[in-house]
Amino acid sequence: MKQAGSNTIFSLKNRLFRLKRDSNRWSIITLVVVFLIALPVISIAVKLFDGPGETWSHIVAHLLFQYVYNSFYLLVVCSVLVLLFGVTTSWLVSRFEFPFRKQLEWLLILPLAIPSYIVAYAYAGIFDYGGTLELIQRFMGLQFTRIDIMNRFGLAFVLSISLFPYVYVSSRAFFLNQANNLLEASRVLGVKEWNSFFKLILPLARPAIIAGLILVLMEVLNDYGAATYFGVSTFTTGIFRSWFSLEEPETAIYLSALLVLLVFALILFEKWQRRHIQFTNSKSGNKRIYRKKISKKMQLLILVMVSFPVLFGFLLPLAQLLYWGFLTYSAVFEYQFLLLSLQTFGIAFITATFTVIFATLLIFSAKWNKIGVIKNLSRLGVLGYAIPGAVVAIGVMIPTIFIDKWLIGTMHSIFSYTSGFLIHGTLIALVYAYVIRFLAVAYNPIESTTLKVSNTIPDASKTLGVGNFKTFFKIEFPLIKTGILSAFILVFIDVLKELPLTLILKPFHINTLAVKAFEYASDERVMEAAIPSLFIIFTATIPVIFLNRLLAKN
């Protein structure tokens, strides 16, 4: 009887009726955004149907195992290290008062400002033969003990120490916003600080932490510069090898597809992990943050713990870069760098703005659309981050040039005017590609703060006669502002350091600091790359400090 009933309710005809009823403009907007974001990926994925190139079996026989093994090694080791650095520091700075806490709070974001391949070079510059460590040891009359960091673990360490801020930023946002209430409650119940951290806070903070972690892992999978320099073959180095050395884009695309699957599996795994848990806490609670007063000894201990990642992720490479910058200053420095910094800043600003808008639009239009399939589809928008920048660039070129050629043809036939490319080779294509690449970076912090706003809040607004759009601006935006600001900072910094994509798609008259640094580094003039790298760090520092102030105020 029940079976029969549900059969008619879920008959095709009724399904179609409901589909028609549930499709609204948000469904269409979601689809359009996802389509725009996925277009490059699709352009490339279509090529999967051509089958892999003839060297595929060669790769499977000789290289694939190594790629898989090394990539998994990096995923595991980096996860452990990044959680260790990111979660402990964010917890300590949001729970305890100790000397230099305020400064450390933003210094902890700055390791992100140095491109990881530059960190890799800097580390090699410190630890390698004739490096800074040897000089210091020699100066102190010590025997040189070489620490070989140019290996798999070294790579994992370098990547972790320069990428952990992703986890730091997202988990700190949670700790600052939420933990106080929870802690108050649990402390009243007599649970010790550490106990409550593991039993209560950590499980609740998991979505925020995982969101940061996934970004790190995607970045790790995507790294090319540091991995090749350290001689570790990963999926991404494999993609480049098969594309460029073996001259088989088809095979490279197959490898990319495997990589995307891997990332997709990570995302699904995370979703599955939190399938039963509702992470909403409607009471946004006491804004005042209580930092625990602790003994001088403990303060010192915490100071050391928090300083460690700052020291190794930022100060040490920075010192090495400053040293190199000092050596090469006269040969490299030009006033043009200031102009270049300004240009880079502008591009990063525009891109970060667009990326944040697109990410927010995607999250909310998916939410406001009522069709389940489309909701799930919106997750696809974040895949761009998993794909190597060079591949995204090619993926962007395929559709934009296609449209451009069509436009040129039309214009020629109507106005008999021959123009150059209108999208490709302009800022539009570059920003478009950046948005695709960095959407995940913006998506995750915004989504995790959105998850913290109970669904009943916007529901309440709607029953009070206010539509989705207005509800967003009046209610949800103020509540997720921290997430949006974090997203903005992260994308901004990412654009500052982005390379392969910029190299391929940048317009003629535009240059970025990262390109300048790369020009030196790829010519093995690593020392000379220090000056533009320092400018990148400098340019990144300004918004980090500024926005950190804003975050703290909220």
């Binding site: 549900s6 309710i9 028609k20 009823r21 029953t463 009070l464």
Partner: protein, 328 residues
């Protein structure tokens, strides 16, 4: 004013139904209670009425206009339904006054209206505070004022008192429903507590497993429950099994189920059907005394009595008019 016809909703594409084939209609100006255990579909039902969920079949009419069906959905912001959420859902970044003004921004005399509802709930002097500065009961009243401000044609309260302790609860319940009665708005409130429902509702809807099992006035639900489940919601009952019927020598219809309410069991009193029993244990409950007794056929029963001088041997009995009959 509200008419619902064979409404169904499934969240897993028909594998299970949160709400199955529910039909009823509500009259203007009355207060209705929806009672059911958690998972019975009561929250889904009100979310459907408010337009926050879409039905998989059936339709909802408000004031004679179809607002939800499988072909049509009027969005929640156009339904003029006030909803007070279980966790209040106050906007944390807005002051109390701004929370209330939020829903009436288009009104000409919005300031006056806000003042009016604030006075109604007795929080006028706190209007510049923020939600986190209020107690639970105060938040509850703000949520009510906010929902009432736009003069909704229907007010829905989802588990309005579940977050409060029992002292505050009955006090606030009376306050809230005084306010509601004053405004004369049609109201639905959801609860899992029968006491709440009995004390304020004109009519009660009982949901079980996504189905509407009974809709009636409180007195009728008490005297004429259509199922054991409904009967058990309003106090303890004793099922009159075949064995009990023979002990009490009361032959009842064989194609029905029967039960008797605990409070209708008479001890040491004149009754149509009586039998003897031995008291095994007495528990003093203040006004009442709970007895664990053993009937002569060896069956154990728990009964409650107001008598306080109970001896070891008692007679217990009941009258035929108190026997509840269900077709099951």
């Amino acid at each position: 004013m509200v008419r619902i016809e064979s409404l169904s909703k499934s969240f897993d594409k028909g594998k299970t139904f949160a709400l199955k084939d529910v039909s009823f209609s509500l009259k203007e100006g009355d207060v209705y209670a929806i009672v059911g255990e958690s998972g019975s579909g009561k929250t889904t039902l009100i979310r459907l009425i408010a337009g926050l969920e879409t039905p998989d079949s059936g339709f909802i009419e408000l004031n004679g206009i179809q607002v939800s069906s499988i072909k049509k959905m009027v969005s929640p912001e156009k339904r003029n339904i006030g909803l007070v959420f279980q966790e209040y859902a106050l906007f944390p970044h807005l002051s109390l006054l701004d929370n209330i003004l939020y829903g009436i921004s288009k009104l000409k005399n919005k300031k006056d209206r806000a003042q009016e509802v604030l006075e109604l709930v007795g929080l006028a002097e706190m209007k510049d505070r923020y939600p986190h500065q209020l107690s639970g009961g105060q938040q509850q009243r703000v949520a009510l004022a906010r929902a009432l401000a736009p003069k909704p044609s229907l007010l829905i309260l989802d588990e309005p008192f579940s977050n409060l302790d029992s002292m505050l609860r009955s006090q606030l319940r009376n306050e809230v429903f005084d306010i509601i009665k004053k405004t004369g708005v049609t109201a639905i409130f959801v609860t899992h507590d029968t006491q709440d429902a009995l004390s304020v509702a004109d009519e009660i809807l009982i949901l079980q497993g996504g189905k509407l099992v009974q809709k009636d006035q409180a007195a009728n639900l008490y005297t004429k429950p259509t199922s054991v489940y409904v009967a058990s919601l309003f106090g303890n009952t004793i099922q009159l099994s075949k064995e009990l019927q023979s002990v009490f020598e009361c032959p009842l219809k064989t194609d029905c189920c029967h039960a008797i309410r605990n409070e209708n069991i008479a001890i040491n009193d004149e009754c149509e059907y009586v039998t003897h029993a031995t008291v095994l244990k007495k528990t003093f409950l203040g006004n009442d005394t709970q007895l664990l007794i053993k009937l002569d056929n060896g069956e154990h029963l728990t009964v409650i009595t107001k008598h306080n001088n109970i001896t070891e041997r008692i007679t217990i009995g009941f009258n035929s008019k108190d026997v509840l009959e269900f077709r099951e």
